[in-house]
């Protein structure tokens, strides 16, 4: 009886250690990832032209609509809206998948920094003082 209790107590920290990685392998997260990956094929050119940039809150926004021919602008707006829907859902899902829905804001700000960090040179992003070119 005592032995069993001890064993359990000793295993608990190991479990916590295993949990040091965030859970990101849920069906919902995978679905969002592949949707965003597919959309990136269309968005990449707009990041490069400066039409679309990365925002401070982990989303994207139209930065320079003039970089897009008039007839394509509506399409860009829809792309941005769809991407932001997925990004918002992604942050929410990651927080939820780890049992802490209240982590959403922190997940979001972590992502905001990492998107910018990994952005290619020439892409636009927002920092505390506004738009900047990487």
């Amino acid at each position: 009886m005592m032995k069993k209790l001890l064993f359990t107590l000793l295993l608990l920290p190991l479990l916590a250690f295993a949990a040091a990685d965030l859970e990101i392998n849920t069906p919902a997260i995978s679905a969002l990832k592949s949707a965003m990956q597919g959309r990136h094929g269309q968005l990449a050119a707009h990041y490069a032209s400066g039409a679309v940039g990365l925002t401070r809150d982990g989303l994207i926004a139209v930065h320079d609509a003039n970089a897009v021919p008039l007839k394509d602008r509506q399409g860009v707006n829809s792309l941005v809206a769809a991407e932001n829907n997925d990004r918002n859902a992604l942050y929410r899902e990651i927080a939820a998948a780890n049992g802490h829905p209240e982590w959403e804001a922190e997940v979001r700000s972590t992502f905001a920094g990492r998107w910018v960090q990994k952005a290619q040179g020439g892409w636009w992003y927002q920092d505390a003082s506004g738009w900047a070119k990487k």
Partner: protein
């Protein structure tokens, strides 16, 4: 043997709050790691993932 059991019990009890702590505070390092993994997939950066840490400057 009994002494060892007690020692283990104390160690376990001390370690217990540590698990709780990990789960209450936002794991910033783990989140960064998770974010990097997802961004690499979404932007398909896996090929050039070798040296992302060296690019600290903006």
């Amino acid at each position: 043997m009994k002494r060892i059991s007690w020692l283990l019990l104390v160690v376990g009890l001390v370690a217990l709050p540590a698990c709780v702590t990990i789960n209450i505070y936002f794991p910033a390092a783990a989140a960064e790691k998770a974010a990097d993994k997802i961004i690499d997939e979404v932007w398909q950066l896996k090929g050039e993932q070798a040296a992302p840490e060296t690019k600290e400057s903006k």
